[in-house]
Symmetry: C2
Subunit: 348 residues, 2 copies
């Protein structure tokens, strides 16, 4: 089959690799119907050292189950499934607590320990299929394109935006500031709106994206960054935002979050931090600011978010503004890196 | 009157200064009955640059009101009062939300903006007296020494230990690790016990202190530090402590907290951080660890904690293991710095 591999920063190739096969009795094989490129895929695209063997890529996909191991009970060949970005057993303490990203037996796609490949391919072996995959009855690969796009967001970006808002404690009437106008930031806006936030300030400066942010529920857009952006948000929120959702992961975004948060407020991070250390001294401690968040246990949110997607009440798939074939994934990375595309969907 | 002043690291003096007087109509004057030296007073004791004019010291005291401004309503001359370590108006958004440490009009003792003196003195001017001070009916300076000691802890260390446990989310059955066997750490143990924690691991290595920790409710004591201590706590808690209360403020204590916390867990800090930046990258983000805490709004906790102190159900005053006269405060600093005394009480 064909699959996307990265050989170093800026070096993405589509190559023929062996088809995935059942290795464990708890495995399933999924033929990919839609996958995509994530903002977090750009981190290795910028920094990966040159490698002799390519690394498979992609951690978001939906598809059709084609084979299952003997112990698999909850999905069967022919099922349409959503694959959350974390592999999880569904049974351990952390899975039962809704923290599938810390599963004792699980891990992630493109993981050497689990031997998993990536979603930017024709097919994927899914370990711990009962815990990991979510079957969506009544849906097939012939579903409406918009619906498939929205279903795909449940494998990562919508659940990740939701996680930001949920961990941030958004409730009806909340004031929320979202830092970052990437797909996760925009879906954090959508999630905050769904949870009843009254004022939603979106910090971002790409007009097409912030326009979508307004469509998703942002009440204000602040294009300024740094001290200027902080001052503007503090002014808009009469002294600071009680809830700040940080959907970028770079240090300046974190510093902005610390700058705009209100005393007693919460900073909820879902952007994978590209820094080891940052300010948690007096500027965070003094005003009793809480810092929370992490990789989203999207598996835990699928059932909650699926009905709105199926009935069209929400359209998170609008974050995809470009669709390419699998052979074109290298171009998809380039387009996202150049910010020509917000988020690129891949059809194998 | 006599008051304690610090002129630089290691240089504490008791001098005669002008008596405090009413400046604002919302002021009260409090004659100090008991005050004390805080672990956080040791930070300037180690680092304060040499100063021409001494800085007044002390932020914990109980006393008798001797005078009030014309607008003061809730305390009157003759009242016995507890003075929380933050001055607060009681009326602003943050005071109403129980975050008096972020009061819009308040501040702290020994504050140049508010013009406040310190508790290690014969008397103190208390601004915003209605919001700041808590009268305790039926108590006078002739009260039992043990009771006065416990009442004094409500001005800081007991409320601060309580804040750690409350912000950490301790509930019946919780597993809690407390880092630090100073007065705040020990009272965090007591607070966790009161909130129903089942397993309380105290990380500390001063036997007399950890013995008091056991009396307050610690179920395990881990004297080891660093990696060894982390490994021991992870073993005792079967993989990490869901709640970690950090009551020291130095970087190694924070690193220990990150080391022992369970995925999805909480680190609640009440030790004033003596670092600007620290690890909040993947080791905190990856397992979805929440970091919370800050200076305790002890004003908000007094009513909750006072009954147990008055009826003797809890004896937080046991943290005082030495009592000195005001003229001896320099010796008190030396004794705490040398760890000869856990916490020193001062009787003017």
């Amino acid at each position: 089959m064909r699959a996307t591999l990265m050989y170093g920063a800026g070096d993405v190739r589509v190559e023929t690799v062996p088809d995935p096969t059942i290795r464990e009795s708890t495995d399933a094989i999924v033929r990919v119907v839609r996958s995509c490129i994530c903002g977090s895929d750009l981190h290795p695209f910028h920094t990966m050292p040159v490698a002799e063997h390519g690394a498979t890529m992609g951690h978001e996909f939906v598809g059709i189950v084609t084979d299952v191991g003997s112990e698999v009970r909850t999905v069967a060949p022919g099922d349409f499934v959503i694959a959350p970005f974390a592999v999880s057993c569904g049974e351990c303490e952390f899975c039962r607590a809704g923290l599938q990203t810390s599963c004792e037996r699980g891990g992630f796609w493109n993981d050497t320990v689990l031997g998993t490949g990536g979603g930017q391919a024709e097919a994927v072996r899914a370990p711990l299929a009962d815990g990991t995959l979510v079957a969506v009855p009544g849906i097939g690969e012939d579903a409406d394109d918009d619906l498939l796009a929205s279903l795909l967001t449940l494998s990562d970006v919508y659940g990740t935006g939701w996680h930001a808002a949920a961990r941030g404690g958004v409730t009806p009437g909340s004031t929320v500031t979202v830092i970052g106008d990437g797909a996760v930031g925009l879906l954090a806006v959508l999630s905050a709106r769904q949870l009843g936030a009254e004022q939603i300030v979106l910090m971002g400066r790409h007009r097409a994206r912030t326009d979508l942010g307004r469509e998703f529920g942002a009440t204000h857009v602040v294009p300024e960054r740094g001290e200027e952006g902080v001052a503007k948000v503090r002014d808009l929120t009469a002294g600071g935002s009680a809830i700040v959702l940080e959907a970028v992961g770079h240090r300046p975004a974190y510093d902005q979050a610390v700058g705009v948060v209100r005393p007693g407020g919460v900073i909820s991070r879902v952007g994978v931090p590209q820094y080891a250390e940052a300010t948690i001294g007096w500027p965070v401690f003094g005003p009793n600011v809480t810092l929370t968040g992490g990789p989203a246990p999207v598996r835990d949110y699928v059932e909650r978010l699926l009905p709105g997607v199926l009935d069209g009440g929400v359209r998170p798939g609008l974050v995809f503004d470009r669709t390419i074939g699998l052979d074109d994934t290298p171009k998809g990375y380039d387009a996202m890196d150049a910010r020509e595309a917000l988020k690129v969907m891949v059809t194998p």
